[in-house]
Symmetry: C2
Subunit: 208 residues, 2 copies
């Protein structure tokens, strides 16, 4: 079905252009005309794929968050195959949200711009909520597995603990992006590492 592949590719090309515009300037600078220019296609073609600017923004936000979630899932699978500590798996997973390189810095700024737009925009709000729910579910499962293998010494309130961890990471990320001293991305990463080391002090025994 080559037409469907083309369709998705073209939508991705447009969504990527939206993302670059937000990262380089702001969400306000996104218009259908500027997106068409950035994507190197005609305004008419953009309009063929997206009925409105809002639909275009929604698709762009969805793709940014899907890409982050996919990287987190891929890291988890690699860590599982390697038999890594769950502490390490969690740290590597949440590091995908942290501005440790230009690509993640760009994603973080785009996410923050969209986050401020979730008020009064139920579509964007739902993308953020479901993306975070997915991340929390992965953290929650990791914590349950950590109890099973011994890294977590005793049961915790998994749902709240996962919410707490993700909020901590997102707060650090927010402060990194807004240039709050003395928080560099590396310092934030070290704080998450320390938090996970405190939470998961036990030996990892996958044969348990």
């Amino acid at each position: 079905m080559p037409r469907i592949v083309d369709h998705e590719e073209r939508r991705g090309q447009i969504a990527d252009a939206v993302e670059r515009l937000i990262a380089a300037e702001s969400l306000d600078s996104v218009t259908v005309a500027r997106t068409a220019e950035e994507a190197g296609i005609s305004v008419g073609l953009v309009q063929h794929y997206f009925a409105s600017k809002d639909e275009m923004l929604l698709e762009s936000f969805r793709r940014v968050r899907n890409r982050i979630e996919a990287r987190v899932a891929a890291r988890r699978q690699r860590s599982e195959r390697a038999g890594a500590r769950i502490e390490r798996m969690l740290l590597d997973g949440v590091a995908e949200l942290m501005p440790l390189d230009p690509a993640r810095r760009s994603e973080g700024r785009v996410t923050l711009a969209f986050t401020a737009r979730t008020f009064g925009n139920p579509g964007l709000a739902e993308v953020l909520r479901s993306s975070n729910a997915n991340l929390r579910a992965q953290i929650e499962q990791a914590l349950r597995n950590a109890l099973a293998c011994g890294e977590l010494p005793e049961p915790v309130g998994y749902e709240l603990e996962a919410a707490r961890l993700l909020a901590f990471v997102d707060g650090l990320v927010l402060h990194c992006h807004t240039g709050q001293r003395p928080l560099s991305a590396r310092a934030a990463h070290a704080m998450v590492a320390a938090e996970l080391a405190r939470l998961l002090p036990g030996p990892c025994d996958r044969s348990r």
Copy 2:
């Protein structure tokens, strides 16, 4: 000097109108015309006090953050007079940032809207940075006092610990505002309380 008082009052009246517009709608809906309408004064008068929309936004953000900082400082003074535990003082202080009632919910949404605008806007970025630096300095001082009175069992890296605490609070606040389950404002408050209880387990002896 009645003219100076009038001047500040009028600027405050305009800045409050900006804040109400952002809280009720969005930062995008703020124009000089709509602000004049919301404040119940003429466009010409708004322009007399603010040369541009950007100056108006800056003043509004500055006032929101100053108000929060003033409440935090007032709470600290009350707690000090009452000889309260520093753990309690810190919890009450950061609670001023949390969406525990409609006024603080409104302030939090306004702060988040401005935060997303700090990119590419050095004035707004500086307001956020200096406001957070002030809050972190107060937290840092409280932690040093906690060591002196015995609540903090041993010295910590005060600057980083204060940055960590404020980022944790701001992350929780962000998730509350964006409706992330299962984080209610009350649940977030309980998480901060638990974090402070963990950090400051010692007895408080102000005579030390």
